[in-house]
């Protein structure tokens, strides 16, 4: 290593683009880095385990059907009802909720904790672009992971009824429609919960506190009065379920919101919380905690 060697000049510095084109280029560059990090890093191990759980449960049910010689569920209609329950309570309320927390709270908090956020802050990138790129990367990872988990679980449901049942349900549209609805809900859930958890990761040094608070609120939402139900994510998502969920005798029953309200509600929540994250990020001072 000589000094002459250390100086760097042959590669010309890039032309300074400006405006939307520059932001888009930077967004894509950061998205690529962050997408790889949020899908393939060691931190994601817990998310992989979570995503595997419903697949394993339905695989176990299929295996039992195979060994017993008859389907665990009486009919395909009953099986779809059971899947609706599993999806709402376990996949949506457990896997997607916790998985989104794991992905999105670490988007910024992880880098603040391992003292590497300054590498991003020192690049010529507006913090708005940084927040959006990281959010989109987290969203893509979540949707891919939990979407695949839902898809495989749904396919395993049909396994015990044989190949003919799948073909029939695909040709008459029920399977495709329900799969589309479940995947759409996964997308909206990752979007809504993800934006909340990203903001929580920027706002709180210990994101466990907001995680517990949000989890508690989402869990008790069914007994909340209608005026408060509208402030929970799950209220909007339940309105989109293909099979309505029986919430039990204690539930305060209200009519589910129309589909367009559910979808716009999630986009609205996402817009507000991502904007809050941008503001938090713009005011972030890079001084690590023990300084």
């Amino acid at each position: 290593m000589s000094t002459g060697e250390l100086s760097m000049s042959p590669v010309t510095a890039p032309q300074l683009k400006s405006g939307m084109k520059l932001w888009l280029n930077q967004l894509v560059a950061i998205f690529r880095i962050e997408f790889g990090k949020s899908l393939f890093s060691r931190r994601m191990f817990a998310c992989y385990v979570l995503a595997l759980l419903p697949v394993l449960i339905l695989a176990a049910a299929s295996f039992e059907s195979y060994t017993v010689g008859e389907p665990v569920f009486n009919s395909i209609e009953r099986a779809r009802e059971v899947f609706g329950q599993i999806f709402t309570v376990f996949i949506l309320g457990g896997v997607v909720f916790l998985g989104s927390a794991a992905i999105f709270t670490t988007l910024f908090r992880g880098e603040i904790l391992d003292r590497s956020i300054h590498y991003y802050v020192l690049t010529p990138v507006r913090r708005e672009v940084l927040v959006c790129a990281k959010y989109l990367a987290g969203l893509s990872s979540g949707v891919i992971l939990f979407g695949l988990s839902t898809l495989f679980s749904f396919l395993l449901l049909y396994l015990s009824f044989g190949f003919d049942a799948i073909v029939t349900d695909i040709t008459n549209g029920i399977a495709l429609q329900q799969t589309g609805q479940y995947l759409g809900i996964i997308f909206l859930a990752c979007m809504g919960y993800g934006s909340l958890f990203m903001a929580a990761g920027l706002l709180f040094r210990n994101p466990l506190i907001p995680l517990v608070v949000i989890a508690g609120w989402e869990t008790i939402h069914f007994i909340l009065p209608p005026a408060l139900k509208v402030f929970s994510v799950i209220f909007y998502l339940k309105g989109l379920l293909p099979i309505p969920l029986d919430e039990g005798p204690l539930a305060v029953i209200v009519a589910p919101p129309p589909v367009w309200v559910s979808i716009l509600g999630m986009f609205g929540l996402c817009a507000v919380t991502v904007t809050i994250s941008v503001l938090l990020m713009k005011n972030l001072e890079v001084k690590y905690t023990d300084e």
Binding site: M1, L6, V11, R32, H118, Y119, T123, P124, K287
Partner: protein
């Protein structure tokens, strides 16, 4: 001189300009009312632990906003990040890296975010990795590197996008003597190209060796700034001068005839003497006249304590002891 005329073209936009800048962390003072212009060349930032060196560097690098005052780097403020951070490279003191990243990706991803297309980014990354002799370790995670390797990869990451301003917080930490010499020569190369290099270091003789001027801060306040000679004369402390001569004994006997000489001390080998004077300029004039008159043989003559360490000793350590 490279592109140091600044974005706006005027002279002030060639500098780092701090205007009455203060930073408080709640009630705790980081730096207070610092006004400073840092010109192209190498500037050493000197001060004891907790003096505010890192706060000042973080302010200049836009990592933290000032509580009061304003700053510009080459005429641009941190509110214009696309331009501001393109012209600035900062090697922080934090020995930390993104989790699981390898040396190659560390440089490459930075260049991509800076706006380099894939091909030039790969080319520059390859070049950078080779230049710090890390080709074999390029695909290893940075966390497995030795301290010196991590310092080298951090340094090359800070300069890989070819900035006009280089800020280096303790850049020589962890480097072996050979690498230190090479890195110091690199800073000189940067400065000679008309760029601004700001270095903080606890190792004063290295600051001395490399800096064109120094900035001394203590307890968050600017104590002195400028070239060492100027600071030395402004302190009012007698300046120590060493004269190497075979006539040292004779000179020592007669040197008090000259104005402003307050102390003379023979060197242990008898072949030289130390002189303390309250006015170095007039001393040099009068000693030259005396040398001609007396026919003394002088081999060399020059300041013996015009070092950052001497200035630091007087302006900071002695003040701390006094208070």
């Amino acid at each position: 001189m490279s592109n140091t005329s600044g974005i706006n073209g005027d002279k002030s936009s060639c500098n780092i300009s701090l205007r009455d800048i203060s930073k408080f962390y709640g009630d705790i003072l980081g730096v207070n009312r610092i006004g400073l212009d840092i010109e192209p060349g190498i500037t050493g930032l000197v001060g004891p632990n907790g003096a505010g060196k890192s706060t000042l560097m973080n302010l200049i690098a836009g990592l933290i906003p000032p509580t009061r005052g304003s700053l510009e780097v080459l005429g641009v403020t941190p509110s214009d990040p696309e331009v501001f951070f393109r012209q600035l490279g900062y090697c922080t003191q934090y020995d930390s890296f993104p989790a699981g990243i390898n040396g190659h990706d560390f440089i490459y991803s930075t260049l991509r975010v800076h706006g380099y297309d894939k091909s030039p980014a790969l080319e520059l990354t390859q070049q950078a990795i080779e230049q710090v002799s890390l080709s074999k370790a390029a695909k290893q995670t940075v966390s497995s590197y030795s301290k010196g390797m991590r310092q080298r990869i951090k340094l090359v990451q800070a300069i890989s996008h070819q900035p006009e301003v280089l800020i280096l917080d303790e850049p020589l930490n962890g480097l072996d003597p050979m690498a230190r010499a090479q890195v110091i020569a690199l800073f000189r190369e940067f400065a000679d190209a008309g760029k601004i290099v700001l270095i903080s270091s606890q190792i004063l003789h290295e600051v001395d060796l490399v800096s064109d001027r120094v900035v001394l801060i203590n307890s968050g306040y600017l104590v002195a700034e400028g070239d060492l000679n100027k600071i030395q004369s402004e302190t009012g402390e007698p300046m120590k001068i060493f004269i190497r001569s075979t006539d040292a004994t004779t000179i020592a006997a007669k040197v008090f005839d000259l104005e402003n000489v307050v102390e003379a001390q023979l060197h242990y080998d008898g072949g030289g003497l130390f002189i303390r004077t309250t006015d170095a300029d007039s001393f040099f004039l009068s000693i030259n006249r005396k040398v001609i008159e007396e026919g003394w043989a002088i081999e060399s003559m020059g300041p013996a304590d015009e070092t950052a360490e001497a200035v630091y000793q007087h302006l900071i350590v002695e003040q701390q002891v006094a208070t």
